[in-house]
């Protein structure tokens, strides 16, 4: 094909037609994504602000002004629900901190220091992906019971941290490899110790990977049902997911509108996280080798 002609499209379409088809497909796709992706969230929000008598009676697509209410959110003051949500927040923060600190240090060690069996160690870590929460949870129930971690938030934090650890360590290792070693060496020349070089040079540059690892740990902890169900049998430490399921099976009356109000509150932190952190997040996941 000559370079002066506009390039030809697929199926023999001209370049302009191809562009038009492409734009149309893109628009259609966007609409589908909006409908399928946004709709359940919208519907949840809509139910959450509708009076529950109305919710029980009929399906509405757009809430009418007279049925809109914020009363459903009063369920959050219910001590049981409040406890579940508080526990989830504690567990999520604990898991994020543990995962980030441990994986940063290990990732640095793997990337910058040489020690025997380094590669094999990293490979064995990969096997960690194969452990199902249920496979770990069943024996862990007895182990935690015998060392007194059963029913504690710490026990759950350790379990969840270990689950996102292999991934976080690999991410951090590969990310630190992309940071030129010369940056640290320059700091060493100026008299910085290895620790200071790590703290002041490497860690600030790792921000995208830290956010990506934190997000992964957050998703795991915020989502977790299996471990919490097995490892937290008592009420004061139960997290949101198993707690709300138990509340549903025990409670005589837990209206959908209330459930959706709680769900909406539990959805807002992830939404804000995804909105404000996405560019860092995508940068952190750009690391190609896992």
């Amino acid at each position: 094909m000559s370079r002066n002609e506009p390039p030809g499209g697929v199926f023999g379409l001209s370049y302009n037609d191809e562009s038009r088809v492409f734009e149309a497909l893109k628009l259609l796709s966007t609409v589908i994504i909006v409908v399928v992706g946004v709709w359940p969230v919208y519907w949840m929000a809509q139910l959450a602000v509708t009076e529950y008598e109305t919710v029980e009676d009929a399906v509405t697509i757009v809430p009418t002004p007279e049925t809109v209410t914020l009363d459903n959110f009063a369920v959050l003051a219910n001590p049981e629900m409040y406890t579940y949500m508080f526990n989830t927040v504690v567990v999520a923060i604990g898991t994020i901190v543990t995962v980030v600190v441990v994986s940063l240090i290990a990732g640095y060690g793997l990337a910058r220091l040489s020690f025997p069996q380094k590669e094999n160690f990293a490979r064995i870590l990969l096997i960690g992906y194969l452990f199902s929460p249920i496979v770990i949870g069943i024996p862990l129930y007895q182990i935690w019971q015998s060392i007194g971690l059963l029913g504690t938030r710490i026990g759950l934090i350790i379990a969840l941290s270990a689950l996102s650890m292999p991934f976080a360590v690999w991410l951090m290792w590969k990310y630190i490899m992309t940071i030129p070693e010369a940056h640290e060496e320059a700091a060493w020349v100026d008299g910085a110790s290895r620790w200071r070089g790590f703290r002041d040079v490497v860690v600030p540059q790792c921000r995208p990977a830290i956010i990506a690892a934190a997000l992964f740990a957050f998703a795991l902890a915020w989502n977790d049902f299996t471990f919490a169900q097995i490892l937290l049998p008592s009420t004061e430490t139960t997290t949101f997911a198993p707690g709300v399921l138990r509340a549903m099976s025990q409670a005589q009356f837990l209206p959908d509108a209330h459930l959706m109000a709680i769900s909406l509150v539990m959805t807002l932190p992830p939404l804000l996280f995804a909105y404000f952190m996405q560019s860092y997040l995508l940068k952190g996941f750009q690391v190609r080798a896992l």
């Binding site: 452990f131 024996p139 010369a182 998703a219 909105y275 997040l281 896992l290």
Partner: protein, 317 residues
Amino acid sequence: MAGKTGESTRSRRTYVPWDSLPASRETIVGIGTVLPVVALYMLIAVVPIAFAFWASLHDIHTLNPEWEWVGLENYSEVMEIATFWGSLWRGIVYMVGSTLIQLAVGLWMALVLNRITRGQKLLTAVVFTAYLIPTIIVSLVALRVFDPAGGVFQALGAEQFGLWGATEAPLGSREWAMPLLILIGSWKFSVFITIFTLAQLRAIPDRFYEAAKVCGANRWQMFRDITLPRLTGIILVVVLLRSIFMFNKFDIIWQLTQGGPGDATTTLPVLAYKTVYTDQAYGFANAIAVVMFLFLLVSAIAYFTLFNPSEEVETTT
């Protein structure tokens, strides 16, 4: 420039306690950095698996501390019961079905999100939220959506489309439970693939496409020759991860159907859970857990030998 100076600076800083040891300081610090990981890994992976294996050789009632040695009897029993093979098969159906849908949807969403110009950030955030909201919420919403009394699908006319009866709960029907589980799970977990592929797409420099355009390539050729090769590595990795995660999935199945109706959605994790808490057979459940682990280990090794995802990823960097 820093290479030589850096080396000498490093060796000049002599900290005393390390020097008398047989290993070099760097080795010790290096091993020290991974010790926390090793400790966590031992506590949460190696010890439980060893414990599970040991427990699987005993006959244990869940609430009874007395362990009775039975050797490999639990394993031969696992291989004999029909529920095990049925659950393995359903697990494979769930794993393969979910992974294929998630791969297709996840890739498609990533390609679209990468190309739209208006509202990109907001839409990306909303899409990502699906992956980040607790599974229990997805389940609660899904239960409500497919509720025969006032569920949205019923209102939209599932009956008219001849999908299921007016009073029938689709999640409680043998025919619909598994497909719906796959769909609901895919709604949430496709996003995992979107996140990884979108990150890769963002990393492709625009000049590649500009060069291709100058050379007269059409969009399909650009996709085939520029986009796809950059994505192959990460696709191999996420397919492996998603297959493993879906095979191991317990939460969403338990929340939506508890393995029912009958055993129509009982996969291996659900079977193991039921064995512990319904049948009270702790030793037997551990035998199932060990078999699951071995099954995944063998499959993962086979996958690595066939596709070698890590190498693929590295060579395309």
